[in-house]
């Protein structure tokens, strides 16, 4: 389970939200990027991880894997009104690229409890970076 929640930082961007996330391996960097995505919307200490979803996907490239992973989370957020706070991701390298198996936890949006600061519409490919550097680090621009 992702317990180290400080492994990301927000970067100044006029119109949208931008962050860098870090992790000692691919699993962790993807978990931290997911956390940062939801943290850009609201204070996650108000969210209880009572509801579980399993998300599995595959991509040929790493940046596409990151794009698809965040897109999938935004999809469940928007279509099923679930806000997530805990993420458990397992990435496997395959012949075709990468496969991701994950369990993600959160709860249904409750407007009385969840004070949204902004709403993420999508992840963009603009300035998207994923690199192996003292573990892994990613850079993401979200359309808000």
């Amino acid at each position: 389970m992702n317990l180290n929640k400080k492994d990301f930082e927000f970067i100044e961007h006029t119109a949208d939200a931008k962050f860098k996330a870090y992790g000692k391996n691919l699993n962790e960097v993807l978990e931290n990027a997911a956390y940062a995505t939801f943290r850009s919307m609201l204070d996650l200490s108000d969210v209880e991880p009572t509801l579980k979803k399993e998300i599995n996907l595959s991509s040929s490239e790493l940046d596409e894997l990151l794009f698809n992973w965040i897109s999938e989370l935004i999809y469940y957020f928007d279509a099923e009104n679930i806000v997530f706070k805990d993420f458990n991701a397992q990435v496997e390298k395959t012949k075709q690229g990468y496969e991701l198996f994950s369990k993600v936890y959160g709860e249904k949006i409750n407007p009385k409890k969840h004070k949204f600061e902004t709403e993420v519409k999508a992840i963009t490919y603009h300035d998207l970076e994923i690199e192996e550097k003292n573990g892994y680090q990613v850079q993401v621009v979200l359309d808000t």
Partner: protein, 480 residues
Amino acid sequence: MKKDNLERKDEYIWEIPKEYKGCMSVPGRLYLSEKLVDVVEEDTYEQIANVACLPGIKNYSLAMPEAHLGYGFPIGGVAALDRDEGVISPGGVGFDINCGVRLLKTNLKKEDVKGKEKELIENLFNKVPSGVGSESKLNLSNSELDILVENGAQWAVENGYGKESDIKFCEENGKMQQADSSLISKKAKGRGKSQVGTLGSGNHFLEVQYIDEIFDEEAAKTFGLNEDYVTVMIHTGSRGFGHQVCTEHVNEMEKAAKKYGIDLPDKQLACAPSGTKEAEDYFKAMCCAANYAWANRQVITSWTREAFHDFFDSEIKLDLVYDVAHNVAKEETHKINKKESKKDYFVHRKGATRAFGPGHSSIPKKYQKTGQPALIPGNMGDSSFIVKGTEYAMENTFGSTCHGAGRKMSRKKAKGKYWGGTVQKELSEKGIYVKATHGSVIAEEAPGAYKNPTEVVDVAHNAGISEKVGRLQPMAVAKG
């Protein structure tokens, strides 16, 4: 890119020379005042230069006076891509496909609303679901949604949301013909089904305003605008439906760009040559999302009318002046100069408004002589404007002008600098009542976080890409 690399061509025209970047096939051209040049982030110039690298781009990679940093395209970006030899790029439209604005004029005067702003906006807030996670009062089946996305505002009117006359005052009559619902994924439908008739959040709003100044008597008369009369402005888009359509196609285009050997300076500019399956599929799906947005604004219009009727307990007139899209790609015919013949383009407008000049066949009969009305929302503490399209814009900006003031401060900075309660109080002292789901939304959208809309609209006016018709002052605002 540094601001020093800009070449000044005219008082309001600045260029990024073609030589700035090897991949540029045309120069970048910005409509800015000296003052506005200083507030444009340097990365924005880079984004304008990147757009100039798209295959088949005609004349210039254009930036309207509110130009600021986006992703892929800059906000305020306009690019015309050759219909036969160019590309289509979802990044040139953005995730909120057909985010747009509509203006309703009423037969109420400012005094009729004065003192009742709070109650009126509470009524509107109750009628129109807003904010993150808010659900529509409509719950559509997949097959109903298919009909909706192929028919746009026309679906709404046919289902009792509004009147027949609303249709003709929407860009494209509220319906892009090429929409094909068979190209819409289950996921897009999943996001879209429960959001028809919702405002959303962020910079989307519903605002009660009054007309405080008329600049062009004749055009104002044609648009039916009179000083001191109340108007309502609605700003929203295609919600999660459009976001999902764009997300899926950016990914497809990413692969297509590689397949067709298109080298891009920014992945978010992913594109495919016109005529290819990837380009056609995106365009048809984009049209579905554009139609979703028109249906959304039409349903909200109908509920706004209900809220006014209930509140004033009488038949209040709320007639549509016009509805514009400011994130969209359109197939348009343009004649750039006297030497060249008419040609077809995919004109991408990302945070820019179509503003066709007088006599264009795409604008309503009623507005043929004046030119198309374009609506430029300000922020919740500042004026909004209604402007008209010009012949100059037809020849220079593919009939486009600005779409708003544009941010100058990030949401994070705004939250650090302003406190929602204080902003709300200050606005209330100015006679503006703001209702939002909670305080931080107000802090993020504080007037100080935006450029001055008057400055932006004046540059567009002085440069000649649109002409001011009237100014609108906020009285009461509902934010998501």
